[in-house]
């Protein structure tokens, strides 16, 4: 209960804001990382090809898995809580 269920509403709002910021940052990083990996930069037209679309799906999935591994690694070092 201690830290997590804190009574201070301002701290709780700040916590929620940081959680939100973190999710936004994660999403933005996923967008640019997968753009780098999957998208053909010749820009012949404005459509995503079949290959690009399936690359995006797999890339998102793998990116997510990397967040899991990194989280575990940081957690085991006491870097995160």
């Amino acid at each position: 209960m201690a830290q997590q269920g804190g009574q201070d509403p301002a701290a709780a709002i700040e916590m929620a804001k940081q959680e939100m910021d973190y999710r936004v940052a994660l999403f933005n990083a996923m967008v640019s990382s997968c753009y780098e990996k999957c998208i053909d930069k010749r820009y012949k037209d404005g459509e995503l090809s079949v290959g690009e679309n399936s690359c995006i799906d797999r890339c998102s999935s793998k990116y997510w898995q990397v967040t899991g591994i990194v989280g575990q690694m940081l957690g085991s070092q006491g870097g995160m809580h």
Binding site: F27, N28, S32, Y35, Y43, G46, N53, D57, S60
Partner: protein
């Protein structure tokens, strides 16, 4: 929240400009974009927005999967803790 959305759309705008400029504009012999560069910037924008939307859908799916797993795990721990 509204302010965050404004901030995020400005952020996306800046990201798009930087990226599409970098990928599409190579020559500086003239001061105006030529037709090829303009077309390239439009395709780049369009692709980036479609890409971003698709990642958004996957991100949503992965997040809710993770939440479900988390809840199951916590339920399991509580049950285990009550043993």
């Amino acid at each position: 929240i509204e302010q965050m959305q404004v901030r995020d759309s400005l952020r996306m705008y800046n990201t798009l400009v930087e990226r599409c400029f970098k990928d599409c504009v190579e020559s500086f012999r003239r001061k105006d974009l030529d037709a090829t560069e303009e077309k390239c910037v439009q395709s780049c924008c369009s692709k980036f927005m479609k890409h971003s939307a698709r990642v958004g859908i996957r991100f949503g799916e992965l997040s809710s999967e993770a939440e479900t797993q988390m809840q199951q795990m916590m339920a399991g721990q509580q049950a285990g803790g009550g043993k």
